[in-house]
C-alpha cells in the first residue's frame, strides 16, 4: 500500500466515441457537481490564505515574514530540508536500484516497509524518537551524560523529518525503474561498463524526471511537516521552531494576519510543487509522444 501521488503515466486519451457517452445534460450536471465540490474544498483555501495574509496590507505582510523569529524559523526549515532531502535522495536511489534491478526473497516485505511512514501517524513518528532519545528514553541518560541534545534540538527534528519523508523519492523511482526494465543496464554491463558508469550514463538520464519530482515532493513535505516535528521540537522559539510550528504559535497567539502571512510562504511552496509536477508530466508526455510510432 502506498500513499505517494505519482506522475501520470502516458496513456492516450481513452474518451469513448461520441455515440457511446452520456447525454450532454448529464455530462454538464456531473461536471458542475464536481466543480462545486472542488471549489469548496480546494479553491477557497487558497483564497483565504491570500486574503487573510494581506488583510492588513502589504507592509504588515512583509513585517510578519521578516521579524527575527520568523527568519530563524525560515532558516531552521531550510537547514532541516537541506539535510533531509539529500539523505532521502540517496536512500531512494539505493532502495530503488536494489528493488528494481534484482529479484530477491523478501522484496515485497521491503516495499511494504518503505511504505510504512504513510500508515503511521506523524505524532507517532515523533513519539518513537522521544522514546529513544528523550530524557526518559532508552539513550536519555547516556545523552545527558555526554551533553548531547537530540530531542528538543535540531537533530531530533531532522530525524523525525527523515522518517516521515524518506519514502517519497523511493516510491517515485521504484515503479518507474521497474517499468523501464533492466535491458539497457544489462546491455551496458555486457559492453564493459562498471556499476557507476551504468548508473550515471544509462539509468540516471532515464529516471531524471521521476527523480526530480520525488525530490520536489520530498522537499515540500520536509519543509511542511508539522505533527512529527511538533512532538520532538519542544517549541523553543528562535531555536527549534520550524515554519509550520511558527504558524501554529502565531495562530495560537491570535496574531492571525502574521500567521497567514507566514503560511502563505508555505502555500507558495505547495503551489510551486504542483506547477513543477505538471511541467514534468507535460515534458514526459511530450517526450514519449515524439518517440512513439504515432
Amino acid at each position: 500500500m502506498g500513499g505517494a501521488i505519482s506522475l501520470k503515466s502516458q496513456s492516450r486519451n481513452r474518451a469513448a466515441s461520441s455515440s457511446v457517452t452520456e447525454p450532454p445534460i448529464i455530462r454538464r450536471a456531473l461536471i458542475g457537481l464536481a466543480m462545486i465540490f472542488l471549489l469548496i474544498f480546494l479553491l477557497l483555501p487558497i483564497l483565504i490564505v491570500i486574503t487573510s495574509a494581506l488583510g492588513k496590507g502589504v507592509a504588515v505582510y512583509f513585517q510578519s515574514i521578516s521579524e527575527p523569529i520568523a527568519l530563524s524559523a525560515i532558516r531552521l526549515t531550510l537547514v532541516v530540508a537541506a539535510i533531509t532531502v539529500p539523505l532521502n535522495l540517496l536512500f531512494g536511489l539505493a532502495a530503488s536500484w536494489a528493488i528494481a534491478k534484482f529479484d530477491f526473497f523478501g522484496k515485497k516485505l521491503l516495499i511494504t516497509l518503505i511504505d510504512l511512514p504513510f500508515t503511521v501517524s506523524p505524532v507517532i513518528s515523533g513519539l518513537i524518537y522521544v522514546l529513544l532519545f528523550g530524557a526518559q528514553g532508552v539513550f536519555g541518560p547516556w545523552l545527558q551524560a555526554h551533553d548531547i541534545k537530540i530531542i528538543f534540538a535540531v537533530p531530533g527534528i531532522v530525524l523525525a523529518t527523515i522518517f516521515v519523508t524518506f519514502p517519497f523519492v523511493a516510491r517515485e523511482l521504484i515503479p518507474l525503474m521497474q517499468a523501464q526494465g533492466n535491458e539497457e543496464e544489462n546491455a551496458a554491463i555486457i559492453l564493459g561498463a562498471n556499476g557507476w558508469q551504468t548508473f550515471f550514463r544509462v539509468t540516471l538520464p532515464n529516471i531524471k524526471w521521476g527523480l526530480l519530482y520525488g525530490v520536489i515532493l520530498c522537499n515540500a513535505r520536509a519543509m511542511g511537516e508539522f505533527g512529527a516535528v511538533s512532538v520532538v521540537s519542544g517549541h523553543i522559539r528562535g531555536l527549534t521552531n520550524t515554519l509550520p510550528l511558527h504558524v501554529e504559535i502565531l495562530y495560537n497567539e491570535y496574531r492571525f494576519t502574521a500567521s497567514f502571512a507566514v503560511a502563505s510562504l508555505l502555500m507558495l511552496l505547495a503551489l510551486v510543487t504542483l506547477i513543477v509536477k505538471h511541467l514534468i508530466e507535460w515534458k514526459t508526455s511530450r517526450e514519449s509522444f515524439l518517440t512513439e510510432d504515432n
Binding site: S17, S18, S19, V20
Partner: protein, 355 residues
C-alpha cells in the same frame, strides 16, 4: 436483413476516412471488407453499427432507415478484435448480458434466458464453460464467447472487426472455417473487416476491396483475385511481378520479348504495365516459342509445397516465380542454373487506362 450503404462520407478532423462509399449487402450474405490500414474499412463497419455517425450519406437495413438511430435500436451484433468480454463476469453472465439489460417489458424470464444462453454455448461448442471467467479461457475460446454474446440478442446483422486478428495463426485458420460453417447454419447477414487476404478469400461470399476511403472493387473472391479491376487490387490480393514495358506496333515488350496487347487496350498507348503472378510462369530448360525469356536462378526456397524461386532476367530484373514441389524435383533445379520462363497468363494495365 439486407444492408444498403448510400454515399457515406466520414471525416476525422482533416482526415477523410470514407469518401462517398456506396454498396449493398444482400440478406444472409457474408461480406468481407478487405484493405490495408487506413483504408476506412473499420470506420465503415462502425458507421454501419452506429458507433460512429456518418457526416453524409445513409445506412438502410431491411428497408428501414438507420441513419441517426441510436445503437441500441439497431439490433447489431458486434464482435471486437480484442473480444471486449466483461472481465468480472462469468461466461454465462457475459452471454446473458444483452438479454438481462432489456427493459422489463421486453425481458425474457430467468429460465428462458438460461435456456438461450446454454443453447448458444452449445452452438459455439463451449458448453461446460459457463462458470469460467474470461481470464481462464484461451484466445479462441474468448472470441467464441464474444460471438455467442453477440448472437444472444438475435441481431439483424453480425458485424465483426478483425475478429481473428489477435489469435495465433493456426487458431485463426480453425476459427475461420468455423465461422464459415456457422454462417452457413444461421444465415445472418454478416460483414467482417480484415486485412488478411487469405481470410477474406476463404470465408466471404463477396469481397469489398477498399483503399484510402474508397471502394476499389466488389466481387466474389474468384473475381477479385483473377479479375482485378486495377493495379491496387492486383497488388493487394497477392504476390505480383510488375514489368514496365514500352508499346510498339500494338505489342508490349518485356525486354525484347513481344506480347500481344489485348483487344480492349487503346492502340496508341505509349507504355503499359504487365502484371504476372509468380505461379503463372512455366519454367523450362530450353526456350519454347518466342514468349520465353532467359534468366539465372539466384535463390531457391524448397521448404514447403510450393517452391519459391528468385530469377534474375536476361535484362537484369528480379522475377519471383513459384512452382509446385513436384515440378521442382522433376526439373532438378539448382542455384545458378540458367532457365527459361514463359508466362502463362498476364494482366495488362496501361498508365492511363485500367482494364
Amino acid at each position: 436483413m439486407s444492408i444498403q450503404i448510400i454515399e457515406v462520407t466520414k471525416k476525422f478532423g482533416d482526415f477523410t476516412a470514407l469518401k462517398n462509399v456506396s454498396f449493398e449487402v444482400a440478406t444472409g450474405e457474408l461480406v468481407a471488407l478487405l484493405g490495408p490500414s487506413g483504408s476506412g474499412k473499420t470506420t465503415l463497419l462502425r458507421v454501419i453499427a452506429g458507433l460512429e455517425p456518418a457526416d453524409n450519406g445513409r445506412v438502410v437495413v431491411h428497408g428501414n432507415e438507420m441513419t441517426g438511430k441510436k445503437m441500441m435500436d439497431r439490433r447489431v451484433g458486434f464482435v471486437f478484435q480484442h473480444y471486449a468480454l466483461f472481465r468480472h463476469m462469468t461466461v454465462f453472465q457475459n452471454v446473458a448480458f444483452g438479454l438481462k439489460v432489456r427493459p422489463k417489458s421486453n425481458r425474457p424470464d430467468t429460465s428462458e434466458i438460461k435456456k438461450r444462453v446454454l443453447e448458444l454455448l452449445k452452438l459455439v461448442r463451449l458448453e461446460g464453460m459457463s462458470s469460467r471467467y474470461p481470464s481462464q479461457l484461451s484466445g479462441g475460446q474468448r472470441q467464441r464467447v464474444a460471438l455467442a454474446r453477440a448472437l444472444a440478442i438475435e441481431p439483424s446483422m453480425l458485424l465483426l472487426d478483425e475478429p481473428f486478428g489477435a489469435l495465433d495463426a493456426n487458431v485463426r485458420k480453425e476459427l475461420r472455417a468455423w465461422l464459415r460453417r456457422l454462417h452457413d447454419e444461421l444465415h445472418i447477414t454478416s460483414v467482417f473487416v480484415t486485412h488478411d487476404v487469405e481470410e477474406a478469400l476463404e470465408v466471404a461470399d463477396r469481397v469489398v476491396v477498399m483503399n484510402e476511403g474508397k471502394i476499389e472493387q466488389i466481387g466474389k473472391p474468384e473475381e477479385v483475385y483473377h479479375d482485378p479491376s486495377n493495379p491496387f487490387v492486383y497488388h493487394f490480393l497477392g504476390n505480383v511481378n510488375l514489368f514496365h514495358c514500352r508499346v510498339e506496333d500494338g505489342k508490349a515488350y518485356i525486354g525484347d520479348t513481344p506480347f500481344q496487347l489485348p483487344a480492349h487496350v487503346k492502340p496508341d498507348a505509349k507504355s503499359a504495365k504487365i502484371y504476372i503472378r509468380p505461379h503463372l510462369f512455366e519454367i523450362e530448360k530450353s526456350a519454347s516459342g518466342n514468349q520465353s525469356f532467359r534468366g539465372t536462378i539466384k535463390y531457391l526456397n524448397p521448404a514447403g509445397p510450393i517452391v519459391k524461386i528468385e530469377i534474375i532476367s536476361q535484362w537484369g530484373d528480379m522475377i519471383n516465380v513459384e512452382i509446385p514441389i513436384g515440378q521442382y524435383y522433376a526439373l532438378e533445379l539448382k542455384k545458378g542454373d540458367e532457365v527459361y520462363i514463359r508466362p502463362k497468363e498476364i494482366k495488362f494495365f496501361t498508365d492511363d487506362y485500367t482494364i
